[in-house]
């Protein structure tokens, strides 16, 4: 994973990761075909209760109240303490979580959730539809500083039909609607009623309905959770979940090797080169699966030189994307061709591609009027040399290395690239929000629902909105609107296929790569079954056979 607090990567994409994060841990969105489990010594053992899992994280959590959280550390904890109304299962199908079932009206406008009966909050109070209503009201309350209000603003009306039945009515059919009722909107009303939720003690000591209860949070050090014996899906096998913060990647890896942490995300270099000793492979299992997100080079389309489609095509052809995948990811990922994850039903494999071809790039640039007239090795046009700056956020090793490779690639065809790496807050405020950049390397996390209205629609180009490259295409606008208001997946898919064709043709981004997630988990943990959703979906079924248990109090 990246070198910095994951928070920084996720903040901008928070909105998009919303559904994904709501529905459990970050692992809930991975792909089966790509999931490879490296062999380790398998020891037989009966499922048993007990032991502790120690998970290493580079960043501390910040806020454990779901609507207020936006970093992945917080969501790792929230995913175990809270439940949603629905969640994604291991095959990324939407299934009930706190809802036993639901009915959707034929016109797609109404959803009625039938909630589980007898579920208790960790303090013993019963969970009811009131809690859902309370959470919903809080999330659309303009005074709540949450990043997740937008899909709930499509709701026309929410009603409590009885203690265990909750009904929502949408303004018009809204395809991402059902999935949005994850664990952001279920809050314990009896603990939060009448309070300023931003100052609630629950921001630091959460009370949920989930498989684990909160025990303690030592800021900057660790968070401890303990199993919930009354969990409605059954008692989790692992007794304690200990989340340890280690701000330095190198230190964390040493702790892993010394077996003082049981799970962490590896970097490609660690995965390929540093974890292959028989000793390591006996102690740990390594997993790899394609992550739900991609990295791109985006062009500010308000810049005259990038408005010429030939220039964008030229740059896309001049960048050796395979080199980036090989050199930066060490092959642990693949070249991206569009904004959807390969091997999902939304992904269109038939789009135009831009294989590495510097000759073609030179020809295109010449056609666009960029020639090296003064012999300094840099192309120019009307006396102006072709030089631009790529910005990216500080702390992401992979983006930094990609920028260096791109810089080198473009130098070969006569374009001078400068790299400017900027601390996250300034990056967003002074550069992205103000559209004060020429080109940017950044990534989007995606969720299983394909809606990408906020990133590509031309109405989303205002201050602080996500279409900061100012992409405008009427057909794309139309497709995005139609797709999000279509409930039929087949029809939706057609819209998104066309949408991908247009993006591939126009290259408002040069799509760079989709990286793989590379967790390593101590081999005493059994029951881990990689699936399209990754590995975290069945955490409560992981166990350590009695004779292998390490932490016995």
């Amino acid at each position: 994973m990246d070198k910095i607090p994951k928070m920084k990567i996720t903040i901008l994409s928070a909105f998009l990761t919303l559904l994904l994060l709501m529905l459990g841990s970050c692992d809930s969105c991975q792909e089966r075909k790509e999931t490879v489990k490296e062999p380790a010594l398998e020891e037989p053992g009966e499922p048993a209760y007990g032991d502790t899992i120690v998970v290493g994280s580079i960043g501390d959590a910040s806020n454990l109240l779901p609507p207020l959280a936006s970093d992945s550390a917080s969501f790792d904890i929230i995913g175990l303490v809270y439940n949603g109304i629905v969640k994604y299962d291991k095959d990324l199908k939407i299934v009930g979580d706190l809802a036993e079932s639901w009915d959707i009206s034929p016109d797609g406008l109404e959803i009625i959730f039938h909630l589980r009966k007898g579920v208790k909050w960790h303090d013993g109070v019963e969970f009811t539809a009131e809690d859902v209503m309370f959470g919903y009201r809080k999330i659309i309350d303009p005074n709540t500083p949450t990043a997740y209000a937008s899909s709930f603003e499509e709701v026309k009306e929410a009603e409590i039909l009885d203690k265990y039945t909750f009904k929502v009515t949408y303004k018009e059919p809204f395809a991402p609607g059902l999935a949005s009722w994850g664990n952001l909107v279920v809050l314990p009303q009896h603990l939060l009623e009448g309070e300023d939720i931003t100052k609630s003690p629950l921001t630091r000591s959460p009370v949920g309905t989930g498989p684990y209860r909160f025990v303690e949070w030592k800021t900057g050090e660790k968070i401890v959770l303990e199993y919930n014996p009354d969990y409605f899906e059954g008692r989790p096998h692992i007794d304690r979940y200990l989340y340890r913060f280690i701000p330095e990647q190198a230190t964390m890896f040493l702790e892993l090797k010394a077996e003082r942490i049981d799970e962490m995300g590896l970097t490609p270099l660690q995965y390929r080169r540093q974890t292959n000793s028989p000793d390591f492979l006996q102690k740990f299992n390594k997993y790899r699966y394609l992550s739900f997100g991609y990295t791109y080079l985006g062009y500010n389309l308000l810049e005259p030189k990038f408005q010429d489609i030939r220039v964008r095509h030229a740059i896309s052809s001049a960048i050796n994307k395979q080199d980036i995948v090989d050199g930066v990811l060490l092959g642990l990922g693949r070249v991206a061709t569009g904004p959807f994850k390969p091997d999902t039903i939304w992904y269109n494999p038939e789009v135009k591609r831009y294989p590495y071809d510097p000759e073609k790039a030179r020809a295109l640039l010449e056609e666009a009027g960029w020639v090296d007239t003064d012999g300094d090795g840099i192309l120019d046009k009307e006396g102006e040399p072709f030089s631009f700056t790529i910005i990216t956020n500080q702390g992401n090793e992979q983006r930094k290395k990609s920028a260096e490779i791109i810089q080198r690639n473009l130098k070969e065809i006569g374009i001078e690239v400068k790299i400017h790496i900027i601390e996250w807050a300034a990056f967003i405020n002074d550069f992205i929000d103000k559209k004060n950049f020429e080109a940017v390397i950044l990534g989007w996390s995606l969720d299983p629902d394909p809606d990408q209205y906020d990133i590509w629609h031309s109405r989303k180009t205002k201050f602080k909105e996500f279409n900061f490259i100012s992409y405008k295409n009427p057909e794309v606008d139309d497709l995005l609107v139609k797709a999000r208001h279509t409930m039929d997946p087949e029809e939706r898919r057609k819209y998104y296929f066309r949408f991908q064709e247009i993006l591939a043709e126009e290259q408002p981004y040069t799509f760079l790569y989709v990286a793989e997630s590379l967790p390593a988990i101590h081999s005493r943990f059994k029951g881990i079954e990689p699936a399209p959703a990754g590995i975290g979906y069945n955490f409560i079924e992981w166990y350590v056979p009695k004779h292998l248990q390490k932490y016995t109090k």
């Binding site: 630091r204 030592k218 900057g220 050090e221 280690i246 701000p247 500080q394 807050a425 967003i428 109090k553």
Partner: protein, 328 residues
């Protein structure tokens, strides 16, 4: 003494004011705004809402007003609330981390003194000897080696390869289940590497300072006289010279507080120690202005107090200073 103390405390007031002015200037003159963090998270924040937030934090007022408001709150020890998502009181956030940083720094300071002063004295009394040269190079290596690199090498050696010491953190995971003695040992084991790394870098300053003071004192007339009178070499050096050579070291002790606190960013990050340095760095990277300003002011005040303490010690040990204090 009391008079001296109150005079010193009075003198601190303009310094404190200056500290707040500089803190405020450094933070407010930097590009970007404190409301950034809250609004950037939220795609739904409109420009109007952003204006509201600005007003809430008083950012629409003229700079001098903002400063005075902030100062007035500081006077009531109100450091405000963190801008990060946890929205906690700045004073709480600092308070839970300050003891760790201070504790570590005190320990490494003690280690520095107990190693550096003997080195300094011996290399002065044996000037140009092998010992002198060896320790000179040794303490400078300590100064010159990048802290994080040394830390990492030691972690690999003692933590992974030899397995003698824990790698990072302040206590083991099973700390609570240990006996009292076990807890103490556990603590101590965790502290060995960070304290050593922090101290190694500070040896040079102190030992060199002690050495040159000592050299100077040895050459002074009264020491020469004492020697001439036939007092034994050791007695002269350790009884008379040492005392006078060590006096100025006390002042340096006070002055080195800020650099020690500053260095804590690095070793707290590499050793995963939840101290103030880590908090400061994290706050800087997320533009958590109230926390940044709180730590800067507090750090500076701590230094002031450190200096005051050093001066008082000095006064206690050296009668000349006490007199001066009374006169002035």
């Amino acid at each position: 003494m009391l008079q001296y103390l109150s005079k010193r405390l009075l003198q601190m007031i303009p310094l404190l004011l200056g500290i707040t002015i500089i803190t405020f200037a450094v933070i407010r003159l930097a590009p970007g705004e404190p409301t950034d963090l809250q609004t950037q998270l939220n795609p739904k924040v409109t420009v109007e809402a952003w204006e509201r937030l600005r007003a809430y934090y008083g950012l629409d007022k003229p700079l001098y007003r903002q400063y005075l408001d902030w100062l007035w709150r500081l006077l009531r020890l109100d450091f405000g609330r963190s801008f990060s998502q946890d929205n906690r009181k700045v004073i709480d956030k600092i308070a839970e981390r300050l003891p760790i940083t201070i504790g570590l720094n005190v320990l490494s300071m003690l280690l520095i003194i107990s190693i550096a002063i003997p080195i300094g004295v011996l290399s002065a009394t044996h000037q140009y000897s092998f010992f002198d040269k060896f320790t000179t190079v040794f303490v400078f290596i300590g100064f010159a080696i990048p802290t994080f690199w040394l830390a990492l090498l030691l972690m690999i050696l003692f933590g992974v390869n030899l397995g003698w010491l824990p790698i990072s953190g302040l206590k083991s995971l099973d700390y609570e289940s240990l006996s009292f003695l076990g807890m103490m040992t556990d603590r101590a084991k965790h502290l060995i590497l960070p304290v050593f790394v922090a101290a190694f870098g500070g040896l040079a300053g102190f030992s060199r300072y002690t050495r040159s003071n000592m050299l100077e004192v040895i050459r002074q007339d009264y020491i020469m006289t004492a020697k001439a009178k036939g007092l034994s070499e050791n007695r002269v050096v350790y009884k008379h010279a040492l005392r006078n050579a060590l006096l100025p070291v006390i002042t340096i002790l006070g002055l080195s507080v800020p650099s020690l606190i500053g260095g804590s960013v690095i070793f707290e990050t590499i050793f995963a120690i939840p101290g103030m340095g880590q908090l400061f760095f994290h706050s800087v990277m997320s533009r958590d202005y109230p926390v940044i300003m709180g730590i800067l002011v507090l750090g500076a005040v701590l230094t002031l107090l450190g200096n005051l303490l050093a001066d008082i010690c000095y006064g206690v040990v050296d009668p000349r200073i006490r007199l001066e204090g009374r006169k002035g």
